[in-house]
Amino acid sequence: MMNTGLLTTGVLDTGVLDTGVLDTGVLDTGVLDTGTAHAGVLDTDVLAGVGNAQVPLLAAVLLLAGAAKLVFREPVSAPVDATGRHRVIGVPSRDGGRVLPWRRSRRAGVALALAEGALAAALLATPALAARVAVTAVFCASVWVVGELRVRHPGSGCGCLGSLSDEGVGRRGVARAVLLAGAALLALAAPDAGLRVLAGGPLPLALAALELAVLAALSPEITALRRRRRKVMPCERRPSPLAETLETLHASAAWRRHAPAVGAAAPLDVWREGCWRFLLFPARDGGAPADLVFAVSTAERDRTVRAALIRPEPEIPARTLAARQMK
């Protein structure tokens, strides 16, 4: 008898085969093949389980980022005029000078938030590879972006969570981006959609929660959020968007009182000193040209508005002025 071990026992137990079962080579190969197949299934299952855990994690991160962009607005909008050029003094910056202000604009923030929401919905609803590839591309690109920001614009925040991310990108920010990109790569192997993973077993969810905790520990926004909840910024130091000032102005009694005299929709000059932002409008005072200046408080709440109508002194003809100086 040339059979060995289990096979031999099996053969003897069944009693079906007698000594005539001598094709041990075939039987042995069959047993070995079955073992390899079991190991392969195990590996695939583990990879699929880890990949599945990344799907709700990535969806949660994208939803969180999108919601934060909508709730925590960037403190300032892009200082660009209608032609897209900088209105700040001097030459526009050569590197990133257009991208960074664009990114801080409200429109860009809303667009990015909607895109992130759409990607999160796709991750939750469908296991389509196209959605996973798009998410992976986004997170891989974010690694490059935060790396560039860290080197070229060290003071600029990434804006990942709206104005909460207004501090310069540090090592933790880069590590977080790398981890998310890795998670997105793992999610490529996930067979299930996010909702199905949520309805499934607890293990992928536990893994996702663990990863989320690690990401939270790497996020400086948690500290910023805690700081933000603590105290109100004094009005003289508080970044106040121009849109907020215009909204306050248009809702004020001073504006309603002087609105008939205002000669233009947009102010001629807007500047700020401490707790006040000033807006200068051309106006008519009894048919004569005048300047109408509004002072709008930049406080967090209970903003006040004051107004003054200024009639410029008529210019004195040069000949009269010379005659006066002679006297």
Partner: protein, 333 residues
Amino acid sequence: MKPPRSRGSRRRRDREAALGAPPAPGPGTAGPRRPPQRVLSGVVLDASPHLLVLHTADGERRLAMTGETSVRHGGLSGGLAALTAGCSVVVRQAPQGPAAERLWVEPARIAGTILACGRGTVEVEMGPHRGRATVVVPPAARGPVQVRHPRLEPGFLFDAICVRTPDGPRAVRPGTPQPAHRAGRPAAASRSAPAAELVQGTVTWFGDCVSAPGRGAAYPAVDPEGDAGGCAAAPRGCVPLPYLSLGSEIGVHNECGGHEGTVPVTECGCAAARWCDRCVECGTSPRGRLAELTPEAFVALGGDLEKGCFNAVLRPGAPAPPAGPARRRGWAW
């Protein structure tokens, strides 16, 4: 009332019309109080042992040269040989008379974030409105510069007193008294800290006679909205300062020499906001750059362009906040 001539004076008129005249400033600081020094800046037209002819913004000016006149060029005593036609100078005049007391020839200062370092050169990003510059660090200056900049690496701050040359700025000595830190890591002032009426810190200078002519200041907290003129990505500095605009006026008191004066804000000082260093010219100042002055304004307020800073008290001059509930503290959202 005369029609306002400049944007600053027109804004002042409008502000007083809306809020009323500002109250008289408080007593200020202790110590001597002296007026600004007499200073000129311009381009040399002709120079001789007895006469210096300058082209300034107000036209041609003639200054007497005496045996006491000191000429500084590139950190050294330059003598008359340094005064060639076409070079830019800052001249501090004698307290009385038209004589020149001290001249700085082709002064320049490069401060910002390091982008790249080569063999004897440093490429510096000076802020969105000042662009970039490549500073040559000659072997003679390399040692002192490396003492204050032990990590000449991209991302770290750089500040050097330079001399203008046809090949670009050449470093003479470091501009900061302390080792520079990483640009993105200034110890930002507490979010809830109010801006004081008088702020102590360090005042430095920036640019050169060509890029920063006349008397003005780069203020770290210029509002980025509207026509105020601030930089969009300006960091929050380590000194709590109120937002101002181009054309606003700040009062500067030099604690070392006692000179004081009012300077208009002419530029966004987002580069200064990245620094959190002290000046040690006369005692140790609190941390933080309060303003960067143009070379002429810096010398007028008693500064030495080669030293780079003076301990100062700043009066931002922002109008009073609205009275009542708007000032109260509470939850942010």
